[in-house]
Amino acid sequence: MSTLQAMRGMFSGRTAVIAAPFLFLLVFFLLPFLIVGKISISEMEIVSFKDVLTFSDGVMQLTLKFGNYVFITEDPLYFRTYLASLQYAAATTVLCLFIGYPFAYFMARAKPTVQPALLMLVMLPFWTSFLLRVYAWRGLLTEGGWAADFIVATGLDQVLYALGLITTPGNLMHTPFSLVLGMTYTYLPFMILPLFGTLAKMDLRLLEAAADLGASPWVAFWQITVPLSKAGIIAGSMLVFIPCVGEFVIPELLGGPETLMIGRVLWDEFFSNNDWPMASSVAVVMVLLIIVPLAIFSKYQAEAQEARR
């Protein structure tokens, strides 16, 4: 085989390797987004939507309708829903960080022999159905459930009531509390794993040096450990925050009438109202809401990838 042939073989192989997944993603990921963008500015007709470009009497007509966007930005219900989605997602992220950081920290400082087992235990719930685990919380939080009994017995429901997270003491389901609890539960491993990744890699001699120079463990923790785990904190927070904004299943199963979230609005516009352009507009706005955290996430992800090399 000549060198030329070998090079050609390599070239075509290379092209095929790149082209197959590339084309798949272009057709089934990027193109649908463009179509959604187009439909969101087209007019609704009975059972279907009007094409943006139409030919009538041989003249090409361009009909654009930005009414959906005007409606979305002016209607207080929509605005409140967007705000609520961002608030619930932010609350979930903070809670996950509060529970997950010490968790990942103690995991990373555990004996090296038990670390793989601990990691396995964090991953294992991933493998069992997310839908079923969320459903299980419904049973736990409904009156008479284990978690509900515990919370009422310890008087924690009074605290939650005072904080305005539940509407009546003793009634935990279909409240902001049950919603945020369910989201925290579901996304906690997404916070723990990146944090563990950065904390396990940390050079512990830095803490020894800090101690030698007179820093208390507490000071050393805040001035050395926390800044060094910044990448993990950001990656974990984005992995929790972004999917929470558009979450549908958890608000549907654990939320209530006052915890309307944007994913639910999109669902209703599509399935109940059959208003495809409106649902598309909501989708476009949702993407705009998460585009900044998304950019932060991919920037840090890229930096982490470069650092690994």
Binding site: F28, P32, A110, G139, L140
Partner: protein, 279 residues
């Protein structure tokens, strides 16, 4: 640095509470599947009747069969596409549209599923209007799951490919192996373990998906999660607990078996490497 005694106990306590939080719902699901009461959150005694009822639950069983089929084909397709995508991203540092490509590969991981489902459906509807196919059903659900599965498979396989020692491939190349031979005989066996993990992960993701399936399913193609979801929306239902327990048992066996096989292979390869080094 030595941790203080209180620090040690605080750490252990925090980890225990965290794990209790993570596993409480799973334990509750299993326990209440054996509960002799139609309300599955208060214990009333042991029964197997929900399992007996499940055996005659044709809606749930046909949903399960459909879900298993879709999950199988999703996992196979996602591993193939994921391997190609991971290979392209790790081995080819420069090609046109690389940034767009790497962005698109990981975007489905964080993109809200309602957005992905809606956009994919609207595109498929447009295609159907123009060409007359595809009908909404098993094929369209498969495409949606494949999109999500490929993203996960790529991440898993990519991290393994990156850790590979490139010298092994270079050595094979120097010894006259052609690129496709290098891939099949050297690269693939070394990443086989991550292919198994990716297959299992995408299989369970597909088996679990509600949102994409809801958008992409048509009449007569109700997957098991859709059946479970519609029952769970209405309230607590012991049949859901029974299905959940079966799923948990099967998945646990699968994961344990897979990790045992992987560990055994690793050990054997380690021994072979040691033997080769001695020789």
């Amino acid at each position: 640095m030595k941790a203080s005694r209180t620090g040690l106990w605080f750490g252990r306590g925090w980890l225990s509470l965290g794990f209790a939080f993570l596993y409480l719902p799973i334990v509750a699901l299993v326990v209440f599947s054996f509960n002799d009461s139609p309300i599955p959150n208060q214990w009333r005694g042991f029964t197997l009747r929900w399992y007996v009822q499940l055996a005659g639950d044709t809606e749930m069983l046909s949903g399960l069969w459909l879900s298993l089929k879709i999950a199988f084909f999703t996992a196979c397709g996602a591993v193939v596409l994921g391997t190609l995508a991971a290979y392209a991203l790790v081995k080819y540092r420069r090609f046109t549209g690389r940034t767009l490509f790497s962005g698109m590969v990981t975007a489905p991981l964080v993109m809200p599923e309602v957005v992905v489902g809606l956009s994919l459906l609207l595109m498929l509807v447009s295609v159907q209007r123009a060409l007359g196919f595809p009908e909404r059903g098993i094929l369209t659900i498969w495409i949606g799951h494949l999109l999500l599965g490929t993203a996960y498979a790529t991440v898993v396989i990519q991290s393994r490919l990156k850790d590979l020692n490139p010298q092994l491939e270079e050595a094979a190349m120097d010894l006259g192996a052609r690129p496709h031979q290098v891939f099949w005989l050297v690269t693939l066996p070394m990443i086989a373990q991550s292919l198994v993990s990716a297959w299992l992960l995408t299989f369970t993701i597909s088996l679990d998906d509600v949102v994409l399936s809801a958008f992409l399913s048509g009449p007569g193609s109700t997957t098991m999660p859709l059946v479970i979801f519609s029952r769970a929306r209405l309230g607590l239902n012991p049949s859901v607990n029974a299905v959940a327990t079966l799923v948990i048992v099967v998945v646990a066996i699968g994961v344990v078996l897979a990790s045992w096989l992987i560990a055994r292979n690793e050990k054997r390869r380690g021994l072979e490497m040691a033997a080769a080094a001695r020789a």
